[in-house]
């Protein structure tokens, strides 16, 4: 009788390790199980998380903002910030050219969603759950933005909810540019509120420069990721790296927008010769 808990301990430890090993491979056999849990616990999270947010908002809210108004305000602010971002760096003509080069859409098709839960895994993971899912048109790999900039990308989508990998999670990576110089590079998550910029082409990196998405299958171009905080000294390396402060306030997200896929309808136009 005294040995039974020890036996049980060993059995369950082995079971856990086996599950981890199986799940670590490509095409995990547990995806249907995760979907099932998302489908059942997702609405519960939405209800409890919604109630918890409502209490929090009731305490902190000064004005009485309806969801719609709040969303409109966020959208306007987003557009304004993006304009500012493109125009504020360098002279207006260069900014205009950069804008065209980035192929930046004037209007993003945004789906409003509320953050209902967050994932931490003992502090090693940075994810949030949104109350919009497959039925609302959300697909894995879509960009998520807030008024301040890029929040993350959808990684798992259930029927009613979706999980977002945040910009500062070390698993996160996105092709990016410096808004000022247009230099190409990669932005990777580096822990709470931080990202790392790796520039793959030669050129200077200055503190305070804004890092924006360069545009890819996943990310719409020109979404602000962060601002360069400090440049790492490199000794003869080909790439330059810098620490970036993420612009979006990932610690207190409430309402966000999911950028719905937008198929490009026509061929891209070349720039007019100056």
């Amino acid at each position: 009788m005294h040995d039974r808990p020890r036996l049980l301990l060993v059995a369950l430890l082995l079971a856990s390790i086996t599950l981890t090993a199986l799940d670590a491979r490509e095409g995990s056999p547990f995806d249907p199980l995760r979907r099932g849990v998302d489908a059942v616990l997702g609405p519960v999270d939405s209800a409890v998380g919604g109630a918890a947010s409502a209490v929090g908002e009731a305490v902190s809210a000064v004005g009485d903002l309806a969801d719609r108004d709040e969303f409109e305000r966020l959208r306007e602010e987003n557009a304004r910030l993006r304009r500012q971002l493109a125009e504020g760096e360098g002279d207006a003509r260069a900014a205009e050219q950069l804008r065209s080069l980035l192929g930046q859409a004037d209007e993003l098709r945004l789906l409003p969603a509320r953050v209902t839960a967050a994932g931490g895994a003992l502090g090693f993971e940075r994810t949030v759950t949104l109350d919009a899912g497959e039925r609302d048109g959300v697909r894995p790999g879509q960009s998520v933005v807030s008024a301040d900039g890029l929040v993350g990308r959808t990684v798992r989508v259930g029927p009613w909810t979706s999980t977002v990998l945040l910009v500062d999670d070390p698993e996160f990576g996105a092709g990016a540019r410096l808004a000022g110089t247009g230099a190409l590079g990669l932005a990777r998550g580096a822990g709470p509120g931080r990202a790392e910029w790796t520039q793959v082409e030669p050129g200077p990196v200055a503190e305070g420069e804004v890092v924006v998405t360069s545009g890819s299958d996943t990310f719409a171009p020109g979404l602000a990721i962060g601002r360069v905080r400090s440049v790492r000294p490199t000794a003869g390396g080909l790439t330059r790296t810098a620490v970036v402060d993420v612009l979006a306030d990932l610690g207190s997200l409430a309402l966000v927008g999911i950028v719905l896929d937008e198929a490009r309808s026509g061929p891209r136009q070349p720039l007019p010769t100056p």
Binding site: R6, L33, V37, L41, V48, L122, F124, R156
Partner: protein, 164 residues
């Protein structure tokens, strides 16, 4: 399933939902406290290692399924925590020190165990910075939270006992 089994299962589900919706979103410095770990520890303290490891496994799998890492990683460390806390099985309803110390030890073991598996899996999330941050925040938070969680969990388990 026994009545205790149902009660423990319900506690695990409630803990996971509250962890994701409320605790992870609290504006606290560092990493969030782990309510699921704390509930596993309290159940183990009150009911011994057998119930402890089973609760840890069930709650861990549920937490794993809702997150973005490999299945079984939290289950592994919660099972360990449930066993260790179960070895100290005692009537801790009146005590603050025993639950607090057990919570701190369990959280330390859980964070280190989780990071160790991360290193084995070459997980980019397992960085030195993340490990120190988790140790510096999760451990004291769990130490503070464990004595608070003892009364409600004890009340649920006592209710089940009375009905039997």
């Amino acid at each position: 399933m026994t009545a205790v089994g149902w009660a423990v299962g319900l506690l695990a589900v409630v803990a996971v939902v509250l962890q994701e919706t409320v605790v992870e979103r609290l504006p606290l410095p560092g990493a969030a406290p782990d309510l699921v770990l704390v509930v596993v520890v309290v159940v183990a303290l009150l009911r011994g290692p057998r119930t402890g490891v089973v609760t840890g496994f069930a709650a861990g799998l549920l937490a794993d399924l809702g997150s973005d890492h490999e299945l079984g990683r939290l289950a592994l460390v919660y099972v360990l925590a449930g066993f260790l806390a179960g070895l100290l099985e005692d009537d801790v309803r009146g005590s603050v020190v025993v639950p607090a110390v057990t919570g701190a030890v369990a959280a330390t073991v859980a964070v280190l165990g989780y990071a160790a598996v991360g290193v084995l899996l070459d997980d980019p999330r397992t960085t030195g910075g993340a490990l120190w941050r988790s140790l510096a925040s999760v451990v004291p938070y769990c130490a503070a939270l464990t004595p608070v969680v003892v009364p409600p969990v004890a009340a649920v388990l006592r209710r089940v006992d009375r009905r039997r």
